[in-house]
């Protein structure tokens, strides 16, 4: 298997409590993988760790990806901020113009094209605080399109979004796959995962199973995941699974 991402005994903790605990897995390249698990299972934390944004990491993350694009949960964005749809989308080209350079014609042209391809033509000058949740998610997808990344991380891309928008955005994701990009999405809708995502990674702080979706999302695995998520010990002892200590 050609892996885009290899997690080696990865532990990510907040205040010494592990949110992701000794996870080892491989995620195939140019493929769509869903990360599934109960609330608090460490799914978003895992994405943050892949981006290098998690506070404390032990173990290793190996990746062949050169450019990573990330769709955050909407709650992480101040949607009342006075900025236009076009400017938000154009930020996807940050890696080209950075904090201080000017956007080139091609960037502006591509931003226009991305806005069209998520079905928001005519919305360019609208401030983002006038958009619905679904329309704003389309804006963020247009920004992802502009980032031209070989690894795309999506954190709950379809939470609170109607089925029409989900279908349109799924089409965008399918296109990424056709373009040989690796897509990793945190999802809660298991039917959708079974339908659209060939690979899955099921976790509840620890890894339950990773591989083909049909095998991973078995009733037995899902039951195990739920049982593991509910076991939470405020006064847990230090973990004694061997691991090279990092300062």
């Amino acid at each position: 298997m050609n892996a885009a991402l290899r997690l080696v005994n990865l532990t990510v903790s907040y205040d010494r409590h592990p949110a992701v605990h000794h996870v080892s897995a491989e995620i195939p390249a140019a493929e769509m993988t869903a990360i599934v698990g109960p609330n608090g299972a460490g799914k978003s934390t895992l994405l943050k760790a892949l981006l290098g944004l998690a506070p404390h990491i032990e173990g290793r993350i190996e990746t062949t990806a050169k450019r990573i694009a990330y769709l955050p949960q909407q709650a992480e964005i101040d949607r009342s901020f006075p900025i236009s749809v076009f400017d938000t989308v154009l930020l996807g080209r940050w890696s080209r113009f950075g904090g201080f350079g000017a956007a080139k014609h091609v960037d502006i042209h591509d931003a226009q094209h991305a806005i069209e391809s998520v079905g928001l033509s005519g919305f360019e000058r609208r401030p983002i605080d006038t958009l619905s949740v679904g329309q704003f998610q389309r804006v963020l997808f247009a920004r992802l399109l502009l980032q031209d990344a070989d690894l795309v991380l999506l954190d709950e891309p379809f939470a609170a979004i109607d089925s029409k928008t989900v279908n349109d955005l799924m089409a965008v994701i399918q296109r990424w796959r056709a373009e040989q990009r690796t897509v990793i999405a945190v999802l809660h809708d298991l039917d959708q995962v079974r339908r659209d995502f060939p690979n899955a990674l099921l976790m509840a702080r620890e890894l339950v199973d990773a591989g083909p979706t049909a095998r991973v999302l078995s009733a037995e695995n899902l039951l195990r995941a739920r049982a593991m998520a509910e076991a939470w010990d405020e006064h847990a002892d230090a973990c004694d699974v061997p691991m090279k200590l990092t300062a």
Partner: protein, 289 residues
């Protein structure tokens, strides 16, 4: 008659001319700072920051008397220290940043008033807290105008990272940019503007001319740059009218100027083109689509 009331004070008195130029510069730089303070939801933290200049300015006063460089430097250092310490406390404890700002500014106020009273009179304390327009001399003018220049150039330079850090900090982090750098650069500029303002307006009032026009502008404009363009003239108008009224009525300039800025705020709240009382009342019928 009109000349006597509106022009003569500036034609006849050098300190009024200096105050006028100073408030023009302060309005231009300060309103841009004010707009970002609001967008970062830091209006109250900005207030706390302004109060925290006091012990530094007071220490400068204790060592150098009513000297502009000593008090300004002291105020600037105290403000930046407060911002840094509050940030550090918030990062290394579970305390929220607004609570740590409140704790820092209460400490600073108490300390500041105590230090001034060690050496100065009640008049000195009043001047430091509420400003003295007579205190705006050539040196103060240079400070205010340099501050405005530095603020505009600085904000223009860090505009994009600062905007993104406001509305989507995670994106900036994912791009490998440390947003806190821009946060603290912005806070330093904010402190600099408060220092520039406190000669004329006092530490308690300096933020008024920065924040109130920006709040008022949010009822008229809906993008960062247009809010700034609306806020600056309102700030300058408050300063101009405030100066004239305080001159003719013999009132302290700081509170009068800030009260006129409040009038602009109230007017905008009532009459503004968006999210105002008028906008709410005048369109009772909903649209077709």
């Amino acid at each position: 008659m009109l000349y006597e009331y509106l022009i003569a004070p500036f034609a006849d008195f050098g300190f009024m001319r200096r105050a006028l130029v100073a408030s023009l510069a302060l309005s231009v730089g300060g309103s841009a700072i004010g707009v970002f303070l609001i967008l970062r939801r830091m209006s109250l933290m900005g207030d706390a920051l302004a109060h925290s200049l006091l012990p530094g300015a007071a220490l400068g006063f204790l060592l150098g008397g009513l000297s502009l460089p000593a008090m300004s430097l002291g105020g600037f250092l105290a403000g930046v220290a407060t911002a840094l310490i509050s940030g550090v406390i918030a990062r290394f404890s579970s305390m929220r940043e607004d609570a740590s700002f409140a704790a820092a500014y209460l400490t600073a106020m108490a300390l500041g008033v105590l230090i001034v009273s060690l050496r100065g009179s009640a008049v000195d304390l009043m001047n430091i807290l509420f400003g003295a327009i007579l205190a705006v001399d050539e040196a103060a003018l240079v400070l205010v105008v340099s501050t405005a220049t530095l603020t505009l150039v600085g904000l223009a330079a860090i505009y994009r990272p600062l905007v993104v850090e406001c509305f989507n900090p995670g994106f900036l982090a994912a791009m490998g940019i440390r947003g806190s750098v821009y946060h603290y650069l912005f806070l330093s500029l904010a402190v600099l503007n408060m220092v520039a303002g406190f000669q004329a307006l006092g530490t308690l009032m300096a933020l008024g001319l920065i924040l109130l026009p920006a709040v008022a502008a949010s009822f008229w404009a809906r993008e960062v740059w247009s809010m700034t363009l609306v806020a600056a003239p309102m700030a300058f108008a408050s300063a101009l009218i405030g100066l004239l009224v305080s001159f003719h009525a013999g009132l302290p300039s700081g509170p009068v100027i800030v009260l006129f800025a409040s009038l602009f705020f109230l007017g905008s709240l009532l009459l503004g083109s968006r999210a105002s009382v008028r906008a709410r009342l005048s369109h009772p019928v909903h649209l077709r689509g």
